[in-house]
Symmetry: C2
Subunit: 208 residues, 2 copies
């Protein structure tokens, strides 16, 4: 987030120069923690299992000494993005900010597990451009009928009753990503398998 | 940023429950890194020395093994807050988002050195409320004439020429904080002294 290099400081009444020899670049942080930093962006329908898998992988890799965290839509909606509603423009802005925050965390040394439905290819591509290197798109894929059956937050029930306009999968299409770096099929595999696959993927992609 | 506790997952075609026993709370992260996390908010005039002192402290404590980072206004303006101008409302929103991002980083285990002019008491109090515990306000204080003499970014020259309306200290007042937890007087002390004082303050306040 900040780079410390040869900062000159002129103090009034004197002309001292204070060179800071510290090195707190992203690379320094990566070397400290033993792995690269970056963003693993989990996209998929509500109920596909994004948060569940992300939390499981976070716990596994944290225990293994990694600097890793989950950035999820609900947390952002409760704070940073509490000024945004669910209009198309606001959802786009919600995603833009999520990408910028994910980048800040990556610059600070974190592997960020970002869990956002992010239904549109254009929005996901915009985030990929902002984050730049070390961005990996993971499609957490599940059949819509499975997600409706799980309905962990009761949102499909409300959407199907017409109470949530534009709910992804019901009032609005989910655009399958053609550029996923990894696909986790939660209609065909259990959480433990997906956790194992994603943790292995991260260990490989974020190796120094 | 996320708490992993007994997450139940029903997989279609089965009724398995997958309890995640991981513990990735803020407290877990603090114990891992050996210090509490939170926000050190540096307020003061442009040119007072906020960024210089923050970078020096970041370098010192990083070398000492701390999870610490600088969050500065220019970085946010270039990314997350690139949609905001310098109107009164936009400057307020700039600060609100800065506080929310600082909180996210604190939840993720960081000591955040947030460097923002933040001229208004109301804005600083709003950030203090958002961050909650482990928020410490540091007033980086310098005489206006010293800041004008330093003018590291050439902004005072432009503001005095009328090119930057509402520039703090010229077209707009800086409200001295009555509630500073620490005051660093850079008109009276050199950078090394301020670095030493702030690093000591942080070591004490963020001790586990």
């Amino acid at each position: 987030m900040s780079t410390v290099v040869q900062t000159k400081v002129a103090v009034p009444g004197a002309t001292e120069v204070y060179p800071h020899r510290g090195c707190v670049t992203r690379r320094c942080r990566n070397e400290r923690h033993g792995h690269r930093s970056g963003v693993v962006w989990l996209t998929g329908l509500s109920g596909a299992g994004k948060s569940t898998i992300a939390s499981a992988v976070e716990a596994e890799l944290f225990e293994a000494g990694w600097l890793i965290t989950v950035l999820d839509g609900d947390t952002l909606r409760a704070g940073l993005n509490s000024d945004l509603d669910f209009s198309a423009a606001a959802r786009e802005e919600n995603l833009r900010r999520a990408g910028e925050v994910a980048l800040l965390l990556a610059e600070a040394g974190y592997v960020v597990l970002a869990t956002f439905i992010s239904p549109h290819q254009a929005g996901r591509e915009a985030v990929r451009r902002v984050v730049g290197d070390d961005f990996h798109l993971v499609h957490v894929r599940a059949r819509l009928e499975d997600c409706i059956a799980r309905d962990p937050k009761g949102l499909y029930r409300r959407a199907l009753a017409g109470a949530i306009p534009n709910f992804t999968g019901i009032g609005q299409a989910y655009e399958e990503p053609p550029d996923a770096d990894l696909i986790l099929d939660t209609s065909g595999a259990d959480v433990e398998t997906c956790r194992h696959t994603l943790a292995g993927f991260i260990r490989e992609r974020f190796a120094l």
